[in-house]
């Protein structure tokens, strides 16, 4: 399959293989912040969402795992399909959706009352899941998040004792423990130093074999380094729109839209 086909929502061949947003709009109160987003995320790919601040990238990924509804004034329209089923269909168990679609936040937020080990396994307790061997799962998640070597001797220390970059990888490990199909990352490196950022980017590359990743980033180089596809969002004062989506190399080398070109070459934003 050529990558150009993958991201066209009209292409029926790839529907249902992963995640698909169809005609997603979002509002906060009367403020229309996101307009008609159509995006298809093929299974096992990394998609970067780029664009200036306030263009609705974060709001968009929060509509995917239904965290958008956490804001009291929020409203939305459209559909988000996971394995061909709309996550907003009535009767959907929202906690199950969030189990399948994990999320890593901008600021590392390990649970302060828990140890490193408890943090990683907290999703199991929260969702009341049973696993045969917790120790194996703990090691596996921390290894996949690239943190095992650094913390294996102090699993009973508190999460807050780690550095910011380690905390963020701990949060990634925590998301992995419930085995999500999709991992949403909302500017996961914006609070981190370059070394930690690099570690997390390696982690993202490794994880992309086993899950679909959507990452919001302000760092163009990061998008170029980690993603297979890139979608450019922009708001010209009105609601945020998706201007262009293509394989990452194309977005950065020969964007179709003038505004995309201006943004990726650093002429604005």
């Amino acid at each position: 399959m050529t990558s150009a086909e993958m991201l066209t929502p009209e292409n029926p061949k790839v529907l249902g293989t992963g995640l698909e947003a169809r005609g997603v709009h979002a509002w906060f109160g009367k403020n229309h912040v996101l307009s008609d987003i159509n995006l298809n995320f093929a299974a096992g790919t990394v998609t970067a969402l780029i664009g200036p601040s306030g263009c609705g990238k974060s709001t968009f990924i929060r509509t995917i795992n239904r965290m958008h509804e956490f804001i009291p004034t929020a409203a939305m329209a459209g559909e988000v399909f996971l394995d061909g089923k709309d996550v907003y269909a009535s009767g959907t168990d929202v906690t199950k959706i969030r189990l399948k679609i994990g999320m890593v936040f901008q600021k590392p937020n390990p649970f302060p009352s828990m140890t490193i080990g408890e943090n990683v396994l907290s999703g199991l307790k929260l969702a009341q899941l049973k696993v045969p061997n917790k120790d194996d799962l703990l090691e596996e998640c921390l290894t996949r998040a690239g943190l095992w070597k650094e913390v294996k001797d102090r699993l009973s220390a508190h999460g807050g004792s780690l550095s910011g970059g380690q905390q963020q990888r701990l949060c990634i490990a925590r998301s992995l423990a419930v085995a999500p199909q999709v991992l949403l990352m909302d500017e996961p490196c914006s609070a981190l130093d370059p070394g930690s950022t690099l570690r997390i980017e390696e982690t993202i590359r490794e994880l992309s074999d086993s899950m679909t990743i959507v990452i919001v980033t302000h760092n163009m180089q990061q998008a170029a380094r980690v993603s297979d596809y890139t979608a450019f969002f922009l708001s010209d004062g009105g609601p945020g729109e998706m201007i262009e989506t293509a394989p990452t190399s194309e977005i950065f080398s020969r964007p179709k839209d003038k505004r995309t070109e201006d943004y990726v070459t650093g002429r604005f934003g």
């Binding site: 795992n65 965290m67 009291p72 906690t95 994990g102 937020n109 649970f111 999703g123």
Partner: protein, 347 residues
Amino acid sequence: MTTIPTPRKPWAATPKDRVRDLAILIGALVFTYYFVEITPMNGKLAYFSIFFLVYATFSGTYQGIKRGSAAAKDAIVNSIVVVGAVATLIPIGSILATVISKGYKGISFNLFTTDMSMATPTDPLTNGGILHAISGTLIMVLIALIISVPLGILTALYMTEIKGRFMRPIKFLVQAMSGVPSVVAGLFILSAILYPITKSFSGFMGALALSILMIPTIARTSEEVLLLIPSDLREAGVALGGTQWRTVAMIVLPAARSGLITAMILGVARIAGETAPLLLLTGGGDKVNGNPFSGPFGSLPYYIWKSFNSGSEEAITRAWAGLLVLIVIILILFISARSLSSRKVKR
């Protein structure tokens, strides 16, 4: 190889400065003493206020001569702030000093091991004790805690987690309730429960009235503590597939634990010395009573009130001793609250 210089604090006051400050202080003290002596004024208040004026003038003048009018104003404002702080401490220190100096005479071993059932107010201090009052206060506080902690924390959770439609009226009511005079709480239990239903004094009735006073304190403090928990944590919990209730129980409440313990202890400190409802509801026995549901129930505030009323010298000494015990109990609670809430910072 570089030599490491000795650490210095070039901004700190030099010994010369300190001597000068001390000289101003002593000068002000001496001047105040003679000023009060030669004028018709007398009394502690005169000393205090004259000293304040003299000290502010002295240090202001000195700084004014030395460094100009801005420094003079700074010195005067400085002394006003210090006086404000000292004026706050005077009544507290004075209360503590009075209670300790009058109360320690009544402290003896038998005070903690016997009750007043076999002693009269005029008995010597070697006879009788306040075990009944201490145990009564502790039992009632415990019952009030068992009732108020769940109710208070649930109210706080409603205001911070559910944020339901009744949040504003409930918040308003809780705030208003924290201003309810304790005698009103006592009268309410008296007219709503004691007269129509149980028809007899008991420790439980007292504990119910204390709960009315305690719930708003716990609810408000817990609410503030829960509001401090970053919403990131709630979002993280829900994003991991937790329901709201499990997120609250597993993440929000544990993260707020030390603050909630502080809320509990502040609630206890609020009620431990309440007197009015206990006068109305407990019957105030002189005997150790382990059953809060029947029979007159002693308590420290009741005991203190009763002993002062009986008027004999021994009884009044016992009352001061009771006050001292009550203050020490509250002090221990405050210290444990502070150490519990600061323990978290260390790790």
